[in-house]
């Protein structure tokens, strides 16, 4: 019996590979198993190859690792491309129609299970595209789960298409389930231990977690130009626009997107944009505008491999320094960086509140690995009450309509003054891209300029008061310390050995310098682990604390860190 199984399915793009991963994951998450799924597409070797990895376990875990227990190959290429992930005991499920794999062609100890996917589909009157459903049936049998676990998920997946389609798919899955027969009993090591369902978990990718956080925090308007890896957020918002009473508008480009979102925020709604590095590069002027006119704005920045178009569907943490420094001129901003879907939800809710409390742009810095992987999130976290506080807003009727409203007053000690929204009686002011006076009227007066810069920058002190400190994991007294951020935390935690301390930074900017200095004082070995080539967190720590970290584990091949890679390097 197994406590943890890693299953992978691969095949040509367009054959339902991604959906298969989700269906298998769901079949187990509904019964209390802990799940993580990772998608990989397209292959660098040949175009059009899709693969999904699903880890299913009886206890919580932090990351995928190198073990691959089951590889389902919907074509010959899948085995060829993932050969280096095979190990002794890995089961390959394949269709001999694609290629008759022989044991001698593969690493030692591989178990071959031929299943005639194509033939079974044809016998049941299905299309070639339904081979993945046969493969799911076979997989469920090997994992030792009752067929009904899969049937439930198939039913939900195809419910919209009517009962005939549902039954047809169930029949085809059943054919795959039955095809294993006695072979499954011989593979008892791959049968998952049964589990008592303790908590209610949902299966959510990072982008969806951001979406749920946004709408729960009162998002009303989003303008997002399509870009990997944040497209699932677009689908989430577009699919729920009607039922939740929100507007998702697809702009003509990212420049339009951020300016639409700023326009909506000026008019009094909570708004956001989302993009990746290239799209954000186009938004930079808009960011500076948001800083100047003090508009609350949430930006989900999903990093992927750069520079330029880079490797669009692969992961990297290469934009931290870009985000911190983006925009001409000096203005406050907040940068949050979730490590997983649960944090992505929590920090998104927080981002909307921070934006309206301090009237600043707030970033949620995510990446491809976080956005497109599916994570287990405890339902109670997502169900918790969200209290919406709009920050300082003009009191109606408090101003005479013969004057303009002092939207940027110089009296507020923290630099934060009340907002008014177009249409509010007596609230008229200019949200001015030019330097301006208290009512927003353009001003190039030297004294006014200095006062206004000071006023905007004063907000940093106010922000620092509510800043989240770094989160510490592991042995609190250990002198070996790993610093990391974002989704790299998972593999780092999975690699953690006794006598190690891990510092994770969900709040990156303004940087919690004092807390970090304190945490690093006395450490004898400090290791920086990031998914980029230059150690951008280490640079930030040095700039903000003066502490130089010389030992850096950096990975920038587009693939997420594996715990084994970290363990091997820590030993040195």
């Amino acid at each position: 019996m197994a406590q943890s199984i890693t299953w992978k399915i691969g095949g040509e793009a367009g054959f339902g590979i991604m959906a298969s991963g989700t269906m298998l994951a769901r079949a187990f998450s509904r019964h209390g198993y802990y799940i993580f799924t990772l998608n990989e597409y397209p292959s660098l070797i040949r175009g059009g190859h899709n693969a999904v990895t699903v880890r299913i376990a009886t206890a919580p875990f932090y990351s995928l690792d190198r073990s691959l227990h089951i590889l389902v190959a919907l074509n010959k290429e899948t085995v060829e491309l993932h050969k280096n992930e095979l190990r002794e005991g890995t089961v390959i499920v394949f269709d001999p129609h694609d290629y008759e794999w022989k044991e001698e062609e593969l690493p030692p100890g591989i178990i071959l299970i031929p299943v005639p996917f194509r033939e079974l589909v044809q016998k049941k009157g299905g299309e070639v595209i339904m081979r993945n459903t046969v493969a799911l049936g076979t997989s469920i049998a090997i994992l030792g789960a009752p067929f009904e676990c899969l049937a439930d998920v198939v039913r939900d997946q195809f419910a919209r298409k009517g009962e005939a389609v549902v039954n047809h798919n169930i029949e085809i899955a059943r054919a795959g389930y039955d095809a294993v027969g006695d072979a499954a009993t011989a593979l008892s090591a791959l049968r998952l231990d049964s589990i008592e369902k303790k908590n209610d978990y949902l299966l959510i990718n990072g982008s969806e977690a951001v979406g749920i956080g946004a709408v729960r925090a009162g998002l009303k308007f989003a303008a997002i130009y399509p870009m990997t890896p944040i497209n699932a957020l677009i689908s989430f918002l577009a699919d729920h626009a009607k039922s939740l009473g929100i507007v998702y508008k697809q702009p003509e480009d990212e420049i339009a997107g951020i300016n639409m979102a700023i326009g909506a925020a000026i008019s009094g709604v909570r708004s956001m944009v989302a993009t990746s590095g290239g799209g954000f590069a186009l938004m930079v002027e808009g960011l500076s505008l948001a800083g100047m006119i003090e508009v609350p704005l949430v930006i989900d920045m999903g990093m992927r491999v750069g520079p330029a178009t880079g490797m669009p569907t692969w992961t990297e943490q290469g934009d931290l320094q870009f985000i911190i420094h983006a925009g001409h001129g000096e203005f406050p901003r907040i940068v949050l960086a979730p490590a997983n879907a649960t944090e992505a939800y929590e920090l998104t809710v927080k981002a909307f509140h921070l934006a309206e409390e301090f009237h600043v742009p707030v970033f949620i810095l995510t990446d491809k690995y976080l956005n497109e992987s599916q994570w287990c999130v405890e339902a109670v976290v997502l169900e918790r009450d969200v209290v919406i506080n709009r920050g300082k807003v003009m009191t109606l009727g408090s101003e005479k309509s013969t004057t303009s409203f002092k939207r940027y007053d110089l009296i507020s000690p923290d630099g934060i003054s009340a907002r008014s929204f177009p249409g509010m009686k007596g609230g008229q002011y200019i949200a001015n891209s030019y330097e301006h006076d208290e009512t927003g009227m353009v001003s190039e007066d030297s004294a006014m300029r200095t006062k206004m810069v000071d006023r905007r920058l004063k907000k940093i002190a106010a922000i620092r008061k509510v800043m989240m400190p770094p989160v510490v994991y592991g042995d609190q007294s250990s002198k070996t310390v790993i610093v990391t951020w974002g989704s790299t935390l998972g593999p780092v935690l999975a690699a953690m050995k006794a006598n190690t301390r891990i510092i994770h930074f969900p709040w990156l900017y303004p940087f919690p310098a004092d807390a970090t200095k304190e945490l690093l004082t006395g450490a004898t070995r400090v290791i920086d682990i990031e998914q980029n080539a230059t150690g951008q967190l280490a640079s930030l720590i040095r700039a903000e604390t003066g502490i130089e970290i010389t030992e850096k584990f950096l990975k920038y091949d587009g693939r997420p860190w594996l715990p084994e890679e970290i363990i091997e390097r820590i030993k040195v």
Binding site: R26, R30, L202, L203, I204, E208, I212, V215, A217, K220, F221, A223, A241, K242, L244, G245, I246, V247, K249, P251, E252, D253, I255, A256, N259, M260, I262, G263, A264, A265, I266, S267, G268, R270, S271, E285, G286, L289, A379, L382, E383, V386, I388, S401, S404, F421, P422, G423, M424, K425, G426, Q428, Y429, I430, A431, N432, S433, Y434, M441, V442
Partner: protein
């Protein structure tokens, strides 16, 4: 309180060159707002960057002075957030058709209920006189010492083919006519473009007030009706000894805001925030 042109007064006086066409547009806009009974806290004016944008300092309303070229996305976001507030875009030929050309096409095809006033003087005057996208071939400017070689952008044909539902041309030297045209544009439900011919007295010694006056004629005086796109395009291509002004094209169809189901319950800005039924929202992830 009765709204008059004086209701929009600020403590600032215009800094435009004496005789600038912007004065006429400024007066006509204030007159039109007064005529429509729209007060300083009831409208949102969105300005681009250029001589036209400096108007923000002498019109007291809710206003945004945004980024060069980005007035239209800003206006669409603001309109979707609160569609009960009239949104008027004050833009220029460089701002709206050069830097913001892509936005112009896409705004027109969405038909938001927004009015766009294009201050069309063929030059970038705030940067001291370079050719703008509407500059006619042969026009000598600081950036085209041998005369403009490119074809000019025609704001009217571009607006018509892109889907604008009110397309007009006015003249900064005709305040009563322009007042009427702006009022009609603001009243129009949909994307209303008014291209305003505006002499630049400092950097353009060709297209002067007399130059325009001797050529302009009112479309409606010849019995023209603005209901046919092809006829409108044909009229919009007329430029030379005779130059038409007035409404070239108008149609009533659903707006960007009409097509958003969320707005049927009133403006987004007034709606309850958050998710009422969290269970249903989360059910698809189980």
């Amino acid at each position: 309180m009765t709204i008059t042109a004086n209701s929009f007064k600020t403590n600032y006086l215009p800094t435009w060159c004496p005789g600038c066409g912007d004065f006429g547009i400024w007066m006509a806009l204030k007159n039109a707002l007064a005529e429509l009974g729209i007060g300083p806290d009831e409208a949102l004016l969105i300005y681009g960057i250029g001589c036209h944008g400096n108007m923000s300092a002498w019109v007291r309303t809710y206003g945004v002075v945004g980024l060069h070229g980005r007035t239209l996305p800003m206006a669409q976001g603001a309109k979707l957030a609160n569609h009960t507030v009239p949104v008027i875009v004050i833009s220029g030929d460089g701002d709206g058709l050069g830097e913001g050309g892509n936005h112009f096409i896409h705004a027109a095809k969405r038909n938001p209920d927004i009015t766009v006033l294009i201050h069309d003087n063929q030059v970038y005057a705030l940067t001291t006189g370079q050719a703008s996208p509407t500059a006619k071939q042969g026009f000598i400017t600081k950036s085209t010492p041998d005369g403009v070689v490119d074809e000019p952008v025609n704001p009217l044909t571009l607006a018509i083919v892109s889907g604008a539902t009110f397309v007009a041309r006015g003249f900064a030297g005709d305040m009563p006519g322009l007042t009427k045209l702006i009022a009609q544009a603001v009243k129009h439900k949909g994307f209303a473009v008014v291209d305003i011919l505006q002499p630049c007295v400092t950097f353009d010694h060709v297209h002067t007030y007399p130059w325009y006056r001797s050529r302009l004629y009112e479309l409606s005086s010849g019995g023209y009706t603005p209901t046919n796109k092809l006829a409108a395009i044909k009229k919009a291509l007329e430029w030379g000894d005779k130059i038409p002004v007035g409404i070239f094209y108008q149609e009533l169809t659903s707006t960007n805001e009409d097509r958003e189901p969320a707005l049927t319950n009133g403006p987004l800005a007034g709606q309850t925030l958050g998710v009422a039924d969290v269970d249903t929202l989360l059910s698809e992830f189980r």
